[in-house]
Amino acid sequence: MNARAFTTDVVFGVVPIALVVAIWQALVSFGYAPVTLLPPPGLVFDRLAQQLMTGTFQQEIAATLFRLFAGFAIAVVLGVTIGLAAAASPAVNAVVRPLVRVLAPLPKVALYPALLLLLGFGHESKITLVAADALFPILLSTFYGASMVEQKLIWSAMAAGTPRREILFKVVLPAAMPSILTGCRIGLVISCIVVFLAEMITSTDGLGHLLVTAARTFQAVDMFVPLITISLLGLILNGALEALRAFLLRGFPEV
């Protein structure tokens, strides 16, 4: 893509976002929506900046991030392990495949009440829910990535005398990396969303809880702030993982 086309793209891309903000502002300015229901964008972002400076708000973010990363980490470890095992061994595949077929389309949120009963109202139930939701995209993309590895690569490694056990880590895992990282990106955004929703359903802290408390007291501004915060977190984490992916895959052809 040449530089000029790129600039046009950027300009074009900014227009609809600016338009949304403008309509938002106009709705309030021209009195179609009362400020109590739809606070103007300036007010919301002011409040966001102000809140980000306060210690209590930072603690809420920390609580959310802790659950988010704990759940995501479990999902990555389990997803990559099971995915690789299923791709490497037909026996494991025969067991995992039908289980995944049944569990993947199951709405995991529905399990949340059961998790609450079994694990209590603390961190554990939320972390488990996040892990359960993020697991499947990671598992599936690991599985597909690992089963798409070119047979020639494996044969070459075997011909060069690599033991079977090491082939998995030296050939299959690196070759499946692009697909695994794509799965992780999907899983990370899902984790962000799920942790927020779980906190909205039952919690005593975290960003989701902030939104619910604001909703109970009809503080529209405070409802927007946590929602925007979690979305920004999602965008930032997504961008960070993208950068990590670009760094890890610098030798790979464009995927």
């Binding site: 046009t8 074009f12 891309g13 900014v14 227009v15 609809p16 976002i17 949304v20 229901l37 739809l38 025969a94 039908p98 289980l99 995944v100 077929r101 049944v102 993947a104 389309p105 199951l106 709405p107 995991k108 949120v109 529905a110 399990l111 949340y112 009440p113 059961a114 609450l116 009963l117 079994l118 939701d133 499947f136 995209p137 599936l140 993309s141 799965g183 999907i186 955004v189 899902i190 962000c192 969303i193 799920v194 927020f196 929703l197 909205m200 359903i201 939104l211 619910v212 909703a215 009809f218 529209a220 409802m223 927007f224 929602l227 979690i230 979305s231 977190l233 999602g234 965008l235 997504n238």
Partner: protein, 261 residues
Amino acid sequence: MISARAVLARATPVLACLGLLAVWQATSLVLNNDSFPTAIEAIRAIPLILGDKEALINILASLRRMAIGFGVAVAMSIPLGLMMGRSRTVASFFNPLLMVIYPVPKAALMPIIMLWLGVGDIAKTLVIFLGVSLPVIYHSFAGAKAVEEKMLWSGAAMGLSAAQRMTRIVLPAALPEILTGCRTGLVLALITMITSEMIARQSGAGNILFNALDMGQYDTVFAMIIIVGAMGIGLDALFEKMRARLVKWSEPQFDIPVSFS
């Protein structure tokens, strides 16, 4: 005659379900916890829920909202996605906006939308609509983008107008990808529906779950989980059957939807 292997391949999901239920039964027997009923107790409670008129009306109302939200989202997202796939201008116009919306938890908009539109059907349907739209747009976009230029040139040379090329060449060519998006969207519709009902606590299947939890009717909680889970698995299987019929020529890359909320 169908080979034994094919029969086995068909039966595996059923076996997986039975296996999961067996593990559940064993765990609950071992834990012997009041708040964790056995699988058999939970299954016994299912007819009680489905026999209860009010619960049934609630669940059916949820499903109706889900169907409307899903239908409207699909009807609007496919044309948008196809246009984005065929025109660079349209794509660069909408892409950044969609990218910004992507990490927003849609079901979390429920309290805000309820503030504007009240607690009625419109708010709930709108949230489902928002949840379904993005994956359908993205898959239609990807599908339309991958259409071979040569086919379009041939179409143009044969005198098809732009609109005709869209419906007669791009749409069928992108159909497998579009249906993959719809499948993800369908699972998402169910997830968004349940989540938003859990958050709003007004009516519907998600509300029954948490009411039972609050009242300590644990077998009802677990029975509802089975019902909702069965809905997810059933809808997905049904859609997969339809997909296989519509696009016989194409094998899906992922035969399991990568779902997210």
